[in-house]
């Protein structure tokens, strides 16, 4: 006797939901998955009507499903948001070029405007070049730091109000575990925040904070969504792998463990007596930073000067100090990043033009390059 769906009691149950173990039908699964994200968005008041939202799109399952669900919910519940796809090209051949093709297909499939910014264009260094210089250890640091800034730059070029990323419950749970294991107190205090906002940078949110990775995959599969699913070619023995394995084991013992870890993480509070780093602006590019020079600029400087460990190991800083007298040979590859003040000015200009009703295309003329009048990057950064 075929089993009925636990929720609607009518259709036949075809899947077992990873999060709750319920046996449900396809339509109910779509409904509960989408509704939980809707609850997450509404309960945490992530957006306001009229917001221009950039969806961080890598072509992978999380960001593809995110784009699809955001569009669906925006229409179903009339959030009144303007959605854009924002994609970063790190310059990893054989991996990123393929996933970018997926994003371009998503642009067609979901009818959302797309902007791509690349490390090559922003910083003058692609990940391939970086790995050649730095080696296979610590390269994730470069990619992560550059990507963070690249997303903010791309968002300013489009004059966006908010960025959303596809971080899912598994990611957040792993991060919590990692931060406890590595003693990263500042991050531990922040990592469970669903939304980070501030005056000097674009706010970001994680609508999938409570969505299980297995369910995202299931959703993408059942909806036949188009996504790219290979691991980064430079993906190494990152420390995160340990936390990930532990999480997978925990999920096998008790499926609710993922949400439980997030719940535990939300309850963790850093003691008031603990000193946390204060935030300031980078002297060189104006990005938010806890030191005089932001991490991206520090890493870039290291690459230029052939001290690739600058910003990663303390020994490198001593080498830098020692070498200031001798003339250093610079690689000349780096592009001077556009100062954030300039980007913000340009963004305000676009906004003014938009509000005054001047007709502007909402997407750049050609999604490959960003040299369109709607874009805030300066001519020299667009190469």
């Amino acid at each position: 006797m075929p089993r009925q769906c636990d929720i609607c009691q009518t259709a036949r149950a075809i899947i077992r939901r990873p999060k709750t173990g319920q046996r449900i039908c396809k339509e109910c699964f779509f409904y509960v998955f989408e509704t939980e994200v809707h609850h997450t968005i509404v309960d945490n008041r992530l957006f306001s009507r009229g917001d221009r939202i950039g969806i961080g799109a890598s072509g992978g399952k999380d960001s593809t499903v995110l784009a699809y669900v955001m569009k669906t919910l925006n229409e179903r519940y009339d959030y009144g948001l303007n959605l854009f796809l924002l994609s970063i090209d790190e310059g990893i051949s054989g991996y990123r070029d393929d996933s970018l093709e997926t994003v371009k297909r998503n642009q067609q499939q979901y009818e959302l405007p797309l902007k791509i910014v690349s490390y090559e264009q922003l910083y003058g260094w692609s990940m391939d070049a970086i790995v050649e210089t730095v080696g296979r250890k610590n390269n994730c640091t470069f990619c992560g730091v550059f990507r963070r800034q690249a997303l903010d730059r791309g968002a300013l070029m489009l004059d966006l109000d908010h960025i959303v990323t596809g971080h899912n419950a598994d990611d957040i749970a792993e991060t919590i575990l990692m931060n406890v294991l590595r003693g990263d107190i500042p991050r531990l205090g922040r990592c469970t925040e669903i939304s980070t906002t501030g005056d000097s940078y674009i706010g970001r949110s994680k609508p999938f904070k409570y969505a299980y990775e297995k369910e995202i995959v299931m959703y993408a599969y059942l909806k036949r969504l188009d996504y790219f699913s290979t691991e980064c070619t430079y993906s190494p023995n990152a420390y995160r792998g340990y936390a990930r394995q532990f999480l997978k084991d925990l999920e096998a013992v008790r499926p609710s463990a993922i949400i439980d870890i997030i719940h535990a993480g939300e309850a963790m509070k850093v003691a008031d007596s603990v000193q946390l780093p204060s935030l300031t602006s980078c002297q060189r590019c104006g990005y938010i930073s806890s030191n005089a020079v932001c991490k991206a600029c520090t890493l870039l400087e290291g690459l230029e000067r052939g001290i690739p460990k600058l910003g990663i190991s303390k020994a490198a800083r001593h080498a830098e100090v020692a070498a200031t007298d001798a003339p250093t040979i610079r690689s000349g590859k780096a592009v001077e990043p556009v100062h954030f003040e300039r980007l913000r000015e340009k963004a305000l200009e676009i906004r003014r033009q938009r509000l005054e009703g001047a007709p502007l295309p909402t997407a750049p003329a050609d999604s490959e390059s960003c040299c369109g009048s709607s874009c805030a990057c300066t001519g020299d950064a667009c190469s």
């Binding site: 609850h39 931060n179 509070k269």
Partner: protein
């Protein structure tokens, strides 16, 4: 060469530092004293009797020896008074659930210290305490009628209140729990409740717990995985005043499991084997077992794991909502009122 005396050949490496036998033992004693002194500075307590929680395992044996020696030590100057007026051993007899003859061994080990020995058996959780109803009758009495209460009643209280000796009731209670994780959880709850009761009945205001650094790190991972972030700082900190009439201290919190074992070995301190439900079992048998396997293995590759986790925990403090919250009837730690609401929006 040994890093401290620089004369003798080293016999052990602790966190990449070499020690000879004598220096290691001496350093451990000093470390223990410093831990008590630091706790004293953070939470000044009036001199009183102390209950030493003693399970018979390696860490609590080390704790017992160190405490007994500390109390007996000849001292002068500002440190003239021992930190406690008297020390009493407190043991919970688990042989109802884990039959064996460890109890004699445990009693013998404790006898070597000449301290008073008080013990309660696990099944005494069903015996009424003076002034307080038996643990599980409280559950039944305090909950509002409804499906949640009925479920808990059916799963926990009903089998437990069935007729029979206390031992039978205890076994029925544990048989009614579905997973090994739940059984380990319940065992902890009962042991803690009984220990606190022992402390009160012996006239002690302070309880020393033998949680080693490794145990604290494992506990932190297990509590996080079970969603107990709200009580995490209270269950792992060096000093905990959550139970208003009793101060809990964990002076072994700076000793990793390796240090405990070597200390016992070189002071010829024997300890007993104290099993739990998943001892020697596969790693996915329970969350506690999994957390232990994870931390111990990770610590082998990254030797700073256990100390880092302990340091991180020490920098966390309970939220104001936690401190103001009502105590859970079962485990005694802060209860979250709206956890169910949160969960319902997301599942």
């Amino acid at each position: 060469m040994c890093v401290k005396c620089k004369a003798a050949k080293p016999s052990v490496t602790i966190r990449r530092i070499l020690y000879c036998k004598q220096c290691f033992v001496r350093a451990s004693v000093v470390k223990f004293r410093a831990a008590i002194a630091k706790s004293r500075k953070r939470v000044d307590w009036p001199r009183t009797k102390v209950l030493v929680a003693f399970s018979g395992g390696a860490a609590s044996t080390a704790l017992l020896k160190l405490t007994a020696d500390l109390q007996r030590m000849e001292r002068k100057g500002t440190d003239a008074e021992p930190p406690f007026t008297a020390a009493v051993v407190g043991h919970i007899d688990e042989s109802c659930l884990f039959p064996g003859d460890q109890e004699n061994v445990i009693r013998a080990i404790a006898a070597e210290t000449d301290l008073d020995y008080n013990s309660l058996a696990l099944e005494d959780a069903f015996a009424p305490e003076e002034g307080r109803a038996a643990l599980l009758e409280l559950v039944q009495a305090s909950m509002a009628p409804g499906t949640v209460r009925d479920q808990i009643y059916a799963r926990l209280v009903q089998p437990a209140l069935a007729s029979g000796s206390h031992a039978d009731q205890l076994k029925a209670l544990f048989a009614g729990l579905e997973s090994a994780t739940d059984r380990e959880d319940m065992l902890d709850i009962i042991k803690t409740a009984l220990l606190l009761r022992l402390a009160r009945e012996s006239g002690c205001d302070v309880v020393l717990l033998g949680d080693s650094a490794t145990r604290v790190a494992v506990k932190a991972m297990a509590l996080t995985a079970r969603g107990r972030g709200i009580s995490l700082p209270l269950e792992t900190s060096a000093e905990s005043q959550w139970f208003h009439d009793l101060l809990l201290l964990r002076p072994m919190r700076d000793f990793t499991a390796k240090e405990v074992v070597y200390f016992n070995r070189w002071t010829r301190q024997r300890s007993a084997h104290v099993p739990t439900f998943t001892t020697g079992g596969p790693r996915r048998a329970s969350i506690g077992r999994l957390a232990e396997a994870f931390i111990v293995e990770l610590d082998q590759d990254f030797s700073s794991t256990v100390p880092t986790v302990c340091r991180t925990l020490q920098k966390l403090e309970p939220r104001t909502e936690a401190l103001a919250a009502a105590a859970c009837i079962l485990c005694g730690f802060p209860a979250e009122e709206d956890a169910n609401v949160w969960r319902r929006r997301l599942t």
